[in-house]
Amino acid sequence: MKIFVCIKHVPDTAANIKLVGDNGFEDSECKFIVNPYDEYGLEEAVSLVEKEGGEVVVVTVGKGAATATLRSAMAMGAARAIHVQTQGQFLDSTLTAKALKAAMDQDGAADLIFTGKGSVDTEGAQTQYRLAAAMGLPVVNEVSRLTIDGQKATMEKEIGGGEREVLEMPLPGIIGATKGLNEPRYPKFPDIMKAKKKKIQEMAIGDLGIDENAGASQLVKLEAVPERSGAKMLEGSVQEQVAQLIKVLREDEKII
């Protein structure tokens, strides 16, 4: 079984984002990680291959520094990596999907493709759908349970209020993973050392015939979310504080 796992090189969710200019950020100053949702896809792929044999290949579209992120993914058990290199961090999801498809086509067809349910930097959750459309494959996103039975995948996703949807699709197909699917492993030291020797195939996005600036959506402005300046602390006994709270929520905020 050959499985591609698409991963994204993203700033750590705890990182401080220093904005630069109208729509950029200083990426040399923050720690980058494998997009957390992609780890669920990667773990699923690695455990499937451990059970049934085969190979897990991680694919990313991102800046040169994404090499470190690919090494982390290989330490979790991927056999090798493909890195489509870009100049910028923000790529239109249509172009990312095109680049992923071109890289995968060169490498040869897989039985299954995993992605995360979305990335924590641009929070768009579109690439997996665009990849599916470009490749003519079925896709189900936000998958938290998966059973593979021959050429068919049965999946569950939570649709709100605790309600769950059970879906089926023929394989090959694309699965957008989320929490609940598994518990991603922490790589051990020998795995990290082994990952340093694994192969990363690099290619420039331009060599795949894609202009990374040609997207139909444009990031016009990036601005810090106004921070709250600290809570107004209520005072008095528990009853008094509760009474004050109800009063401000009713009279000042008018929300209850």
Binding site: I17, T122, E123, V139, G161, L167, L222, V225, L249
Partner: protein, 316 residues
């Protein structure tokens, strides 16, 4: 004036409240957009009055010429795209709910059009939207270049304002190409009667301090009085006090209610990532130095086992 479609989501035959904010946004800055409501389930005639109250001029009851619409997300996305073409819509909007996120992404991918996901504000004239980037730390303004603007809106982000008009129901039967074969085979009900976290106007979240799964009943009781949903922090979920479906924050749900009460939640960055766009945040914690207070609007230093029962009592 832009002819704008809104995909309406229903639950148990009723229109979900959060749709009304999207309809309000669909009317545009000048309020003169022509608004078409697109219904893929529910009884259009019965729902018309409520939709027209929010400015809907045409209610389109979308069906499939052949095949089972309810069982195929691919057919649903195809049918909405076909309706957009049939009625010459220039923008189509919907909720950034689990269903909306999925259908709009399918539609955008199959039409090869850009999509602005999970907007907290939308400018239809400019074809732009403002959305969260970097786990709620920044707002990004994204502008699209397309004849048909597609966007989803974060539930509760835009306040619903009525603008009654007379409207009519039209039926549209869509012919869609076969999809790649995704089928919904079952819907499993949850514990019944629970309000969807991402839709809820008020949320009470229990953190590690809640100490047990049983103690969530205390929050449920208070929530019932506020029409609120109950959430849990990652610490509470990881400790086994609540299921993952209730988790708010990174790797859980992203919510933006009018009121968010963090009960015994310390306030990790990953938690803020999921609730930062809430209108009013109230922190309740015994530790006066808990990070939650730095980013809340109101704070109560106290034990949730005293504060919550007192709040419940006062609300009765």
């Amino acid at each position: 004036m832009t002819r704008t479609g809104v995909l309406i989501e229903t639950g148990e035959g009723k229109i979900k409240e959060t749709n009304f904010g999207v309809l309000t946004a669909a009317r545009g800055k000048g309020g003169d957009n022509e608004v078409y409501a697109l219904l893929i389930d529910g009884d259009a005639e019965a729902l018309k009055a409520e939709l027209c109250k929010f400015g809907v001029q045409k209610v389109i009851a979308v069906s499939l010429a052949s095949g089972d619409l309810a069982a195929s997300p691919e057919a649903q996305a195809g049918a909405i795209a076909a309706a957009a073409k049939e009625y010459d819509l220039k923008a189509v909007m919907g909720l950034a709910s689990t269903i909306g996120r999925d259908l709009f992404a399918r539609m955008a991918a199959s039409l090869d059009l850009p999509l602005i996901s999970d907007c907290i504000s939308v400018d239809i004239d400019e074809k732009s939207g403002v959305k969260s980037h970097f786990s709620g730390k920044t707002f990004a303004t994204v502008k699209v270049d397309a004849d048909l603007m597609l966007c989803t809106v974060r539930p509760n982000a835009i306040e619903a304002v009525e603008a009654p008009v007379d409207g009519e129901v039209l039926s549209f039967s869509a012919t869609v190409a076969d999809g790649a074969g995704v089928k919904i085979i079952e819907r499993k009900k949850g514990d019944g009667g629970k309000i969807d976290l991402t839709e809820a106007p008020v949320i009470l979240t229990g953190g590690r301090a809640i100490k047990s799964a049983e103690n969530f009943t205390m929050l449920e009781e208070c929530a019932a009085l506020l029409g609120a949903a109950v959430g849990a922090s990652r610490a509470a979920v990881d400790a086994g006090y609540a299921p993952h479906a209730m988790q708010v924050g990174q790797t859980g749900k992203t919510v933006g209610p009018k009121l968010y009460l963090a009960c015994g939640v310390s306030g990790a960055v990953q938690h803020f990532a999921g609730m930062k766009t809430s209108k009013v945040i109230v922190g309740i914690n015994t530790d006066k130095d808990a990070p939650i207070f730095a980013k809340s609007d109101y704070g109560i230093i106290g034990d949730i086992f005293e504060v919550i029962p007192a709040l419940t009592e006062a609300l009765k």
